[in-house]
C-alpha cells in the first residue's frame, strides 16, 4: 500500500473513528439524563442557553438524546453487522464443504433472499418475537446475510483463484497455511471494507425499523426512534427532526465515503 493511499484512507477513516468514539462516549456520559423530562418550560425550543440542540416536546435535552442515541445506534449497528458477517461466513463454509445439492440450495435461496427487503424480514420476526432492540438486531443481521454472503463469496473466489494462492498450492502448502499466509493478508482490507459496508447497511435498516416504532420502547434514545417521536412536531419545530437526521446521515455518509475511498486506494 502506498503512502498516499494510507493518507487517503485515514482522512475519512479518522473522521469515522472519531465519530464512533464520540458516539460511544454518549453511552456513559451525557450533559443531562436523556430520558428525564426536566425542562418542560422550554418545550419545543430550538437553540437556547444550555441546550445547544434545543428541548424536545417532552422537555428533554436534545443534545443528550442525540449523543446517547448515536451511541445506541452505533452499538446496535455493530452487533447486527458482526452477526451478519459471522452467519455469512458460516454459510459460505457450509456451501464450500457441503454436497452439490446444498450448494445449489444455498445459492437459490440467497438469490431470492437478496431481493427481499430486510424490513419485511424484520416484520416477520416481530410476528413471533416481542418487539425489542435485540429482536431488531437479529432480524437485520439475518435479513442482511444474503448480501453479506454474496460479497464474501465474490471475495473468496477472487482470492482462491489468485496466482499466489495457486503457487502456494503447487508448492504443497496445507489449506490452513494457505488461508493464513496467502489469503488472509490480501483479503483483510477487503473484509474490513465489507464490514464497514455491512455496518452502514445495518444502521440504515435498523433505523428504518425503529422509525416504524418496532423497538418496543418508544422512549429508547436511538436516532430512528427520536426521529419518529419528533415527527409529531415537524411543523412546529423542524430542527427537532433535522438534527437527528443529520446525525444519522452524517454517520452513514462518513462510513460510506471511507469505504469508497478505501476501495479506490485498494485498487491503486
Amino acid at each position: 500500500m502506498s503512502r498516499r493511499s494510507i493518507k487517503g484512507w485515514s482522512v475519512t477513516g479518522v473522521i469515522a473513528a472519531v465519530w464512533m468514539v464520540w458516539a460511544l462516549t454518549g453511552l456513559i456520559y451525557t450533559p443531562y439524563d436523556p430520558q428525564a423530562q426536566e425542562f418542560l418550560d422550554l418545550r419545543l425550543s430550538g437553540f437556547v442557553s444550555g441546550h445547544l440542540f434545543g428541548v424536545d416536546g417532552l422537555g428533554r435535552d436534545m443534545l443528550s438524546r442525540l449523543w446517547r442515541g448515536s451511541g445506541v445506534t452505533v452499538v446496535l449497528g455493530l452487533l447486527a453487522s458482526s452477526l451478519t458477517l459471522l452467519l455469512a461466513s458460516l454459510l459460505l463454509a457450509a456451501e464450500r464443504s457441503g454436497p452439490l445439492v446444498l450448494k445449489k440450495l444455498i445459492q437459490g435461496v440467497v438469490s431470492i433472499g437478496i431481493a427481499l427487503p430486510v424490513l419485511f424480514v424484520g416484520l416477520l420476526f416481530l410476528v413471533f418475537l416481542e418487539p425489542s432492540p435485540g429482536t431488531l438486531v437479529m432480524a437485520v443481521a439475518i435479513g442482511s446475510v444474503p448480501f453479506g454472503y454474496r460479497q464474501l463469496r465474490v471475495l473468496w473466489a477472487e482470492q482462491a483463484g489468485a496466482l499466489h494462492v495457486a503457487a502456494s498450492r503447487a508448492l504443497g502448502a496445507r489449506r490452513r497455511h494457505i488461508v493464513r499466509f496467502s489469503i488472509w493478508p490480501n483479503a483483510r482490507l477487503q473484509i474490513l471494507s465489507l464490514a464497514r459496508l455491512l455496518f452502514a447497511v445495518g444502521v440504515l435498516e435498523l433505523s428504518g425499523l425503529t422509525f416504524l416504532g418496532l423497538t418496543g420502547d418508544p422512549d429508547l434514545p436511538e436516532l430512528g426512534t427520536i426521529l419518529r417521536h419528533n415527527q409529531a412536531y415537524l411543523f412546529q419545530e423542524p430542527s427537532l427532526v433535522i438534527w437527528p437526521g443529520l446525525f444519522l446521515s452524517g454517520l452513514l455518509l462518513v462510513v460510506h465515503l471511507s469505504n469508497v475511498r478505501g476501495r479506490s486506494t485498494d485498487k491503486n
Binding site: A115, L123, P238, V241, G245, L248, L252
Partner: protein, 347 residues
C-alpha cells in the same frame, strides 16, 4: 433462433421451479412462525370467550386437524383468496388488500418511473457529454440515494415543500374537500384521468409528488451507477468506434446497439431492487400518512393480526420474486448473450 427459444424456455423452467420452491419455503416459514406464537390464536381473536365457543371456532378453522392438513388448507385458501377476516378492521383481509394495495403500487410505480428517468438522464448526460459537473452530480445522487435514510429525506421534503414553500400538502393521499374519483383501477391519478377531471388529477398528483420524489432517490442511484459503469466499459467504447467507422449515424448506434447492450443489466437491477423499493414505500407511507399496504402491515404486525400478517407477507414475497423473474425474462429478451454470460459467472 430455435436455440434462443430453447434457452428461453429453459430459463422459464428454472425460474418456475425456483418460484415453487420459494413459495413452499416462505409459506412453510410463515405457517410455522404463526403457530409458534405462544397462546391460542382463537382465544386471542375472540377476545377470551367461553371454552365451548373456542372449541367450536377451532373446529371450524381446522386447527384441531393434523398439521400437514392445516398447511394444505392454508395453501389452498391462499390461492383461492380466502384470507380470513382482519382482527382490527373486521373486514375480510382480501377486501383490505384490494383497498390498500393500489395505493402502494401507485406510489411505488411513480417512484420507480421517476427514479429511472432521473438515473438514466444523469448517467447518459454525464457520460455522453463528459461534463464534470454532471459527473459530480451523478456521484452526489449515488451517495444520497444509497446512504441517506429515505424517511429523513421524506421529512426534509415535507419541511421544504410543505412548511416553507407551501406548495404540497403535509400528508395523505387525496384532498378531503373533493370527492374521490370512481374506483376503476385504484390508482387515483389514472381514475381521475379516466373521469376527465383536471382538478382531481391535479390534486392526486399534488399529493403524490413528494412521496414519489422521496422514493425515487434509491432507484435513481442504482440505475445511474450501473448505467455509468456500463457506459464506461471499454468494450462498449470500442463497439461505438467500430460502428461509427462503418458509417452508422449516432441515432442508429445509440438506439439499435448501445441501448440493447446497456439496458439489460439496468432491467435486472431494477427487478432485484424492487423489494427494496417496496421496503422504502413502507417508510414513505409512514412519513406521508399514505394509506397503503405497508402501514396496514406494520399495524397488523404490532397488533398481532395474524390472518393479515401471514397472507400479506406471503403476497409481498411472491410479488417481489415475480418481479425479479419478470425482469430476468425481459433482460434475456433484450440481450440474451449478457444474461447467459452472467448466469455462467454465477455458477
Amino acid at each position: 433462433m430455435k436455440a434462443h427459444a430453447l434457452r428461453f424456455l429453459g430459463l422459464v423452467g428454472r425460474k418456475v421451479g425456483l418460484f415453487v420452491a420459494i413459495f413452499l419455503i416462505a409459506s412453510l416459514a410463515l405457517f410455522t412462525a404463526i403457530r409458534a406464537i405462544p397462546g391460542d390464536p382463537v382465544a386471542l381473536r375472540l377476545k377470551n370467550p367461553d371454552p365451548e365457543r373456542v372449541a367450536q371456532e377451532r373446529a371450524r378453522l381446522g386447527l384441531d386437524d393434523p398439521v400437514i392438513h392445516q398447511y394444505v388448507i392454508y395453501v389452498k385458501r391462499f390461492w383461492t383468496g380466502d384470507w380470513g377476516r382482519s382482527l382490527l378492521s373486521a373486514r375480510p383481509v382480501r377486501e383490505d388488500v384490494s383497498r390498500y394495495f393500489p395505493a402502494t403500487l401507485e406510489l411505488s410505480f411513480c417512484g420507480l418511473f421517476l427514479g429511472i428517468l432521473i438515473g438514466v438522464l444523469t448517467a447518459v448526460f454525464a457520460e455522453v457529454f463528459h461534463l464534470g459537473i454532471l459527473r459530480r452530480l451523478s456521484f452526489l445522487l449515488g451517495t444520497i440515494g444509497l446512504t441517506l435514510p429515505i424517511f429523513w429525506i421524506g421529512l426534509l421534503s415535507l419541511i421544504v415543500g410543505s412548511l416553507w414553500l407551501g406548495w404540497f400538502p403535509g400528508g395523505g393521499r387525496f384532498d378531503f374537500s373533493l370527492i374521490k374519483p370512481a374506483n376503476v383501477t385504484g390508482f387515483l391519478t389514472i381514475d381521475s384521468l379516466l373521469e376527465g377531471d383536471p382538478v382531481k388529477l391535479g390534486a392526486a398528483l399534488n399529493y403524490l409528488a413528494l412521496p414519489a420524489f422521496c422514493l425515487s432517490f434509491y432507484p435513481a442511484a442504482q440505475v445511474c451507477s450501473i448505467l455509468r459503469a456500463r457506459l464506461q466499459d471499454p468494450h462498449l467504447v470500442t463497439l461505438v468506434a467500430a460502428l461509427r467507422a462503418r458509417g452508422l449515424g449516432p441515432v442508429r448506434i445509440w438506439m439499435r446497439h448501445v441501448l440493447k447492450v446497456v439496458s439489460a443489466p439496468v432491467v435486472t437491477v431494477i427487478g432485484t431492487n424492487f423489494g427494496a423499493l417496496l421496503g422504502g414505500a413502507v417508510l414513505t407511507e409512514t412519513v406521508f400518512s399514505w394509506p397503503g399496504l405497508g402501514r396496514y402491515m406494520v399495524t397488523a404486525v404490532l397488533d398481532r393480526d395474524l390472518y393479515v400478517v401471514q397472507n400479506v407477507l406471503l403476497l409481498v414475497i411472491l410479488l417481489v420474486v415475480s418481479v425479479v423473474f419478470l425482469a430476468d425474462f425481459i433482460a434475456y429478451l433484450i440481450n440474451p448473450v449478457a444474461i447467459r454470460d452472467s448466469e455462467g459467472e454465477e455458477s
